[in-house]
């Protein structure tokens, strides 16, 4: 559905939100406090970004006791991937991505 896809792309169109997804990708199940401590942003700003990511279904949350744990939910990103990348292209694209990463190092785009 168009609305769902729009939300995903809008949520991804922000460097801070991409950084939050990077942090969750590296370490799933973090609290708001843990995420805020790793970013130069107020807790309130992080909370707003997380709400936007959750509305786009890019972040899923689980309550554990009094804590709310945040997870990167890659299902919408997989839908984008499946839509435009043909299966036969994947090994070559993986090889190109590996090469680019080796030459340029890790970079947050």
């Amino acid at each position: 559905m168009a609305d769902d896809m729009d939300r995903v792309f809008k949520a991804l169109a922000d460097a801070s939100r991409r950084r939050l997804l990077d942090l969750l990708y590296a370490d799933q199940g973090q609290t708001l406090g843990a995420l805020a401590a790793r970013l130069t942003m107020t807790r309130q700003a992080v909370s707003q970004h997380l709400a936007l990511l959750e509305a786009a279904n890019l972040v899923a949350t689980v309550k554990r006791g009094r804590e709310k744990l945040h997870y990167l939910n890659p299902v919408p990103i997989h839908e984008i991937h499946a839509r435009w990348i043909a299966k036969f292209e994947r090994p070559r694209l993986d090889a190109l991505a590996d090469l680019k990463q080796r030459l340029e190092g890790d970079d947050d785009g």
């Binding site: 559905m1 769902d4 799933q28 199940g29 279904n57 899923a60 949350t61 689980v62 554990r64 744990l69 997870y71 939910n73 890659p74 299902v75 990103i77 997989h78 839908e79 499946a82 839509r83 990348i85 043909a86 299966k87």
Partner: protein, 152 residues
Amino acid sequence: MDKPAYVYVTYILTTPERVWEAITDAKISASYWERENVSDWKVGSPWEHRLPGKSPDVVGKVLEADPPRRLVTSWAPPSEPDNPDKISRVAIEIEEMGGKVRLTVTHTDLDAQSLKDVSGGWPAVLSNLKTLLETGRTLPDPYGAVEGHPQE
């Protein structure tokens, strides 16, 4: 509850009953998951995840079953079905939400190698299930999904 290793969510325009059937029916599960899920889905019963007609890749028990809302199963490799270090737990929650179904998969107690295997698998399975239930298409390649994508 242990901290889940992964949480996956997808929203599907369908009913909880159809999601439950798609997960628990051997033939339907094989159409979007490649492998069929086989069990009588009673608490305590065994379940298997296998290529149709082959020996299973995953075995386990039904830990909770509340159709069409909640299914919890244990997952283990057939070579070590009782090794506690190899057993993980998958909780599937099916909730109706404003005409859609919110499907949540929570995978807990995974060892590092299984984590790596699973992290590529669930997103493909869930997006293929969504395509199947929303378009009626069966996907020839559950991990490709390109051929089955609806044209716009």
